[in-house]
Amino acid sequence: MSAIDLGLPTIGGLDLIPAADGPQKAKDFTSDQEVRWCPGCGDYAVLAAVRSFLPTLALRRENTVFVSGIGCSSRFPYYLDTYGFHSIHGRAPAIATGLAVSRPDLSVFVVTGDGDALSIGGNHLIHALRRNVNLTILLFNNRIYGLTKGQYSPTSEVGKVTKSTPKGSVDAPFNPVSLALGADATFVGRAMDSDRKGLTTVLEAAARHRGASLVEIYQDCPIFNDGSFDVLRKPDKSESRVITVRHGEPITFGTEGRWAVVRRGFGLGVAPTAEVAPADVVVHDATDHELAFALSRLSDQGLDHAVFGVLRQVSRPTYDDLAREQVRTAVDAGGADLRALVHGTDTWTVHDGTVTAAVR
């Protein structure tokens, strides 16, 4: 069930995929491989959430594929008993594009990290989003390079001291949601590793979305970036920071909706709900590109606020559907005659030394 009913055309992200024969369990999706992340790594929580959410899609297990790049998070496919491809650094969206275009009967997930997706793989990511290839992209953002043991990443906050930046990093990070929206992504969501429910909701909507869906997952790396999202976890700190949006609902947050999101010029701000006229509380509309962008700007590198949920979801024809349609139309129109192709329009025949021109 999609989290948001937008009254869009009925073709869903999973419509062409064979359904499972019977009910499935998380265990069915668990491979025989020993899980190898550091103790306490946020990836465990995401893995558990994915294993338990996959059965709810009720697809044939063998029709699910996880394609990943390189990074700690990119080990993900090994731990799921589906088809999996642990590819090379940054290229998973490209590989998944080829797969998705040629196989409409597969549910294709991409698993990637902040380095994999936004550093080396940034271009493939934005192109997959622009093309709207039917992929569900899980971007594990721990704001660090985990696998290579702790260099700063394109989402690390300015001033971050890491192995490669002993005096602090000097580059402004990407806001991955803003970037995706700038690239015309049709689905952008965000969730937290430890928030099983929120994560599941967004993942499910993403998987059911037809087109490219990007889900940024804030993920803790206790080894190289310990507690990086703690302010969004610890109730005392998180309550004024965590903003969860739901399509069609006014955006309030904090204990008993203490805070509200309101317009500030062309952007958004936060005010005590009590001080805001109900009509002035912004109502989330996942189809509004500019609102989604403004929401993305509410979240900044300092994590003063962080917006979770489905920030954008709109329907737009997917690259793979259209590409397949062109091929299908051509195939259906017939004329795929290899002999005719090879012969072309101008041929001549030699027989016992005599030449006869045969021009069509």
Binding site: F85, G335, G353, V355
Partner: protein, 622 residues
């Protein structure tokens, strides 16, 4: 009408040269079609200027098309033209150097204005000094005559100017006694939607023809009889088109959908263009954001059970090398086409070269062997594409196909294959488990359990129940395909990947040997020039053996034996001696190199001369 002499010729080389805007490629193509339909054997060599249209009238903007046609089977587009048609001073300047004494030079005099002469860098007018004395020069006011003929149709001077290439075509068609109806029909169909343009071109064509017939300038016309080629049906084809058709045929014969992931690059782009128009054959073309995404998507498609293909030129291969390594490690079928061009770096995009051979073999990190094949001529690109696909599908490996600029854009008659005669490329996907669990129960799938004969691993595509498995770029454990850091396993896997490629049975190298003790060995597009040079040497009474490699990795099993059975082995290449190096490295047999790296193919005469010292047992350059 003047009475002209008709002479028979066995072979003629014509070159049309003009500004990029003068339609020389079209003119050449059409004359080629006439020659083909007439039954001549032929070979062509289009030569483009740099990729960007240079200012009209400059040397940089000169475009030319050379055609060699004959009444026997020929091998190259010819070294030097017998007839050179030049549409402006720049074309004269750029091409005169290639013209042998006594050749015919047909000049569109209308363009020889002081301004145009200056643009081409002429101080004076070569038509007015003695510099053209060695040639038979025909000064023809093509533009004026065309304009005059079109005036009654109400075609203005500027539009008329666009048809002067058809005047030239008409004149040459007359000179070589070509049938004209077909060209007129072709013009009418080409411009079907703009009949006035069609008419103007037809009139220009006829005017050129009539000009030859009626003026006294041309005392002789020529006839080149049809060539007696082996029985069969023929067409003219370029290498890029043949390669595209080969890919389609491989899709057909394997029963797999074809997926091309590609990024445009000269001179490979036309393969993408061609395949983009062949969707009806179940071909999907994906113009990727870059070369890496192109090969990546092809790998993804192969993983999904398609025939994944990626096409590019040298710089693109550099970019794809990491991903090709992934295909080596994951042992997925993949066809990688490199249409070589002048290098290094961006180099000379529109020129030809064979300098990516060692990159094809070694341009990846780690021990990453793969088969390498190369077509010898435009039509051969069809067969070699099918062969490359066969290797990729049978051995579950990326295969590198090395074409080049000369093959890509050159054309020749192609004896058409029958579909049934093509190899059967049927693939069997894995559908059932092939191993047992640790506890002995059946039903386990081992994605790296190899076929004992081919050493290929099973190809289990997503969607197959019971065979879910994971692959990737980290070293794989034998059989299970799990990640493995075990030293002994790595040692084994590196050697088994090498053994898989080394063990591919490749047809023996065939040698044409008239009792010689010198072998000239080539690969790729040097086939034509080598063959032509060898013919000349043999005609001059020398004994010289010839062989040509289609498989560059692995080499045919008899290669070493062949090499060792000659006093001298000479390898002409359009690089600094890469195949020679490879042969020495593999077999430790001394090999002599003849190299040319000018962006231009060897000429037959040039190569015959370079080979001369070897056969005459003269002192050979060390």
């Amino acid at each position: 009408m003047v009475q002209q002499r008709v002479e028979r010729r066995a072979r003629v080389v014509i070159r049309f040269a003009g500004d990029s805007g003068d339609g020389m490629q079209l003119t050449g193509d059409r004359f080629t079609a006439e020659a083909a339909a007439f039954g001549n054997d032929l070979a062509t060599f289009p030569s483009f200027p740099a990729e960007i249209r240079a200012p009209a009238g400059t040397l940089a903007g000169v475009s030319s098309f050379q055609l060699h046609f004959a009444d026997y089977d020929i091998l190259t587009p010819g070294d030097r033209p017998d007839v050179l048609v030049v549409m402006n001073p720049a074309a004269l300047k750029a091409n005169l150097g290639d013209l042998p004494r006594g050749a015919v030079l047909i000049v569109n005099v209308d363009e020889f204005t002081p301004r145009n002469l200056a643009k081409a860098g002429y101080a004076g007018n070569p038509l007015e000094d003695s510099s053209l004395e060695p040639y038979t020069v025909h000064q023809v006011p093509m533009a004026a005559l065309t304009a005059g003929a079109l005036e009654p149709l109400g075609v203005g001077r500027k539009d008329a100017d666009r048809s002067k290439n058809m005047f030239a075509l008409g004149l040459l068609s007359w000179m070589y006694s070509r049938p004209t109806e077909e060209t007129e029909r072709w013009l009418r169909s080409k411009f079907a939607r703009r009949p006035e343009v069609a008419e103007a071109n037809v009139v220009a064509f006829r005017t050129g023809h009539a000009y030859g017939e009626t003026t006294e300038a041309f005392a002789v016309t020529y006839e080149v009889a049809p060539a007696v080629l082996p029985d069969g049906t023929y067409r003219q084809i370029t290498g890029n088109t043949a390669l595209a058709y080969g890919i389609v045929a491989a899709g057909r014969r394997s029963g797999l959908p074809v997926f091309l992931g590609s990024y445009p690059i000269t001179p490979a782009s036309d393969i993408l263009h061609e395949l983009a128009g062949l969707k009806r054959f179940g071909v999907t073309t994906f113009q990727a954001e870059d070369e890496i995404a192109g090969v990546g998507a092809a790998i993804g498609a192969s993983y999904g059970g398609a025939l994944g293909v990626t096409t590019t030129s040298g710089p693109g291969i550099s970019l794809k090398s990491e991903a090709i390594g992934l295909a080596v490690m994951t042992e997925l079928p993949l066809l990688v086409v490199d249409v070589q061009r002048g290098g290094p770096s961006t180099g000379l995009p529109t020129k030809t070269e064979q300098a990516d051979l060692l990159q094809a073999l070694f341009g990846r990190n780690g021990e990453a062997p793969l088969p390498v094949v190369a077509p010898r001529s435009p039509s051969d690109a069809f067969d070699v594409a099918v062969e490359a696909a066969r290797l990729a599908l049978t051995y579950r490996t990326p295969v590198l196909l090395l074409s080049d600029g000369a093959i890509a854009n050159g054309s020749e008659p192609w004896r058409l294959p029958e579909e049934d005669a093509l190899p059967d490329l049927t693939v069997t996907f894995a559908t059932a488990p092939n191993g047992s669990e640790a506890d002995g129960t059946d039903g386990r799938f081992l994605p790296y359990l190899r076929d004992p004969e081919t050493l290929a691993r099973p190809w289990a595509v997503p969607g197959t129940p019971g065979l879910a498995h994971r692959i990737g770029g980290l070293e794989k454990a034998d059989k299970t395909g799990d990640i493995s850091y075990d030293p002994a396993n790595h040692e084994f896997m590196v050697r088994v990947r090498q053994a898989k490629i080394d063990g591919i049975p490749v047809p023996d190298l065939e040698v044409q040997d008239p009792d010689a003790d010198v072998l000239v060995l080539g690969w790729g597009s040097t086939y034509g020039p080598i063959g032509a040079a060898v013919r000349r040497l043999r005609a001059a009474g020398h004994l010289i053996a010839q062989a040509h490699l289609r498989h560059l990795n692995p080499f045919p099993a008899n290669t070493e034996a062949v090499l060792r059975s000659y006093r001298r082995v000479v390898v002409p290449e359009m690089n600094l001696g890469q195949l020679a190096f490879l042969l020495q490295g593999r077999f430790c047999v001394p090999v002599d190199s003849i190299t040319k790296v000018s962006g231009m193919p060897f000429g037959a005469a040039e190569l015959a001369e370079l080979l001369g010292p070897y056969v005459t047992k003269e002192e050979v350059p060390a």
